[in-house]
């Protein structure tokens, strides 16, 4: 096992990116149980595969890609049954401060493939080429996903969001 992940130790990498990975897993799976498995598997892969990272941005992108792929695999294995948490109105993993029409709550209402792109773009500030690398899609497809996702968000909000592009 390597001692350095883009200049960070394993423990430092976990502390620094735990929230980002956990958020991505919860965003994608919609349930604590599945998200926890994916969360642990992501860091297990980080430790066991020990890839070389150019910088921390590269490390973060790698973690998000692995996390999202783990979530997709978990959902595929579980089948198309919705967990009880995801079937509720506002996801239970969101804070009490997050009201039903907040962006995180609304994000959970749209399709997963749009949700992934919007989450990475707006919540993780990933550039489009990085989103394409994380999701394993080409850049034009990512732009289409973002466009459609924004349209769905607009419909849910009933107006124009003050989002920066």
């Amino acid at each position: 096992m390597q001692d350095s992940y883009a200049g960070l130790s394993y423990e430092q990498a976990v502390q620094k990116y735990a929230h980002a990975v956990a958020s991505a897993c919860l965003m994608r799976t919609g349930s604590y149980a599945d998200a926890e498995d994916c969360f642990q598997n992501t860091f297990l892969k980080l430790y066991t595969s020990s890839p070389l990272f150019k910088d921390e941005q590269h490390l973060k992108a790698w973690l998000l890609r692995v996390a999202i792929n783990e979530c997709r695999s978990a959902l595929r294995t579980r089948g198309r049954l919705l967990p009880l948490e995801a079937a509720a109105g506002t996801p239970v993993f969101l804070d009490e401060d997050a009201c039903a029409d907040s962006f995180p709550a609304v994000l959970m209402l749209i399709k997963p493939k749009y949700r992934e792109a919007l989450y990475l773009h707006y919540c993780e500030d990933c550039p489009i080429n990085e989103i394409a690398a994380i999701l394993g899609k080409n850049i034009n497809t990512v732009k289409t996903l973002l466009r459609r996702g924004r349209e769905q968000i607009k419909e849910l909000y009933g107006g124009e969001p003050d989002a920066q592009e």
Partner: protein, 283 residues
């Protein structure tokens, strides 16, 4: 909407035990690594052993003389031992379709020449439509898309019927009038949106695509589970279009019956029930 609304992780409650377990991975990983290395060594040793045995057997058999082949008797040559194979005709259908919002589907006549199918297992008789557990299912017979598409309209295509004769490798004992081997090729042509600054790759984002064929009474042909492997369709992507392919063995209807009863509808749909394309044909 304020910028801080996008701080998704701020609203997330991440349990501390998740982080503690992740930090504990290094202490438990060495044992797993040791086991993994042992398995790799065993696998490598097995491969070497099999290769060695194969090489040894090869060289040992080279030294064994092979008796000449026995010539067939004249009586045997005149008596065919294999049944006569009959050709099977596979017809490719490219029906005329309209945009997904213009359902029900257009009427595309498909005529098949005389078919003699190969050994195709008998399909289970569907009893009813199986509803998708948590997603919208395509409603039949008049299907509605689950979301109104905002992408450019699909260009209609002209019906194009081609046929291909295929000689099967074996002949089944099944009744030749039992099933019709049907292949559906549905091209999707996407016109570029003048308002879209980027080239569209609308259909490249299709995940799993399925197809179901329903008879004139609306019953699904084949597996009633609309998302089973039997209904999995294939996407062929090229340059600016995608063709959806699906092949099914359909119980051949009674040819003396009314044409309406011999009409089948098909629908291509995504894993969430969104209908992508549809059409119909007659056997």
């Amino acid at each position: 909407m304020p910028k801080n609304e996008f701080d998704f992780s701020k609203h997330i409650k991440v349990p501390d035990e998740w982080i503690e377990k992740a930090l504990a991975i290094p202490s438990s990983a060495p044992a797993q690594q040791h086991i993994r290395m042992s398995r790799r060594l065993v696998a490598a040793a097995s491969v070497v052993l099999v290769l060695g045995l194969s090489i040894g057997l090869y060289f040992s058999f080279r030294n064994i003389s092979v008796p000449p082949a026995v010539a067939p008797t004249p009586a045997a040559a005149s008596t065919p031992t294999e049944p006569t194979l009959s050709p099977v005709v596979i017809v490719t259908v490219t029906p005329t379709v309209s945009a997904p919002t213009d359902l029900p589907p257009t009427d595309a006549q498909v005529t098949f020449p005389t078919l003699t199918p190969t050994q195709i297992p008998t399909l289970p008789q569907p009893t009813s439509l199986t509803e998708h557990p948590d997603e919208v299912t395509p409603s039949l017979p008049a299907a509605e898309p689950t979301e109104q598409p905002t992408q450019p309209a699909v260009q209609p295509t002209e019906a194009n019927i081609t046929s291909q004769t295929v000689y099967p490798t074996d002949e089944a004992d099944a009744d030749p009038d039992d099933v019709a081997y049907t292949e559906i090729c549905h091209p999707l042509f996407v016109a570029p949106d003048p308002d879209e600054p980027y080239p569209l790759s609308v259909w490249e984002d299709l995940d799993d695509v399925y197809c179901c064929i329903c008879d004139s009474s609306g019953r699904v042909v084949g597996d009633p589970d609309l998302y089973s492997a039997d209904h999995r369709a294939v996407q062929v992507v090229s340059n600016d279009s995608v063709t959806l392919n699906y092949t099914a063995a359909i119980p051949r209807p009674d040819q003396s019956a009314a044409i309406a009863s011999r009409r089948f509808t098909y629908r291509f749909y995504e894993s969430d029930g969104t209908i992508i394309a549809a059409g119909q044909f007659t056997l």
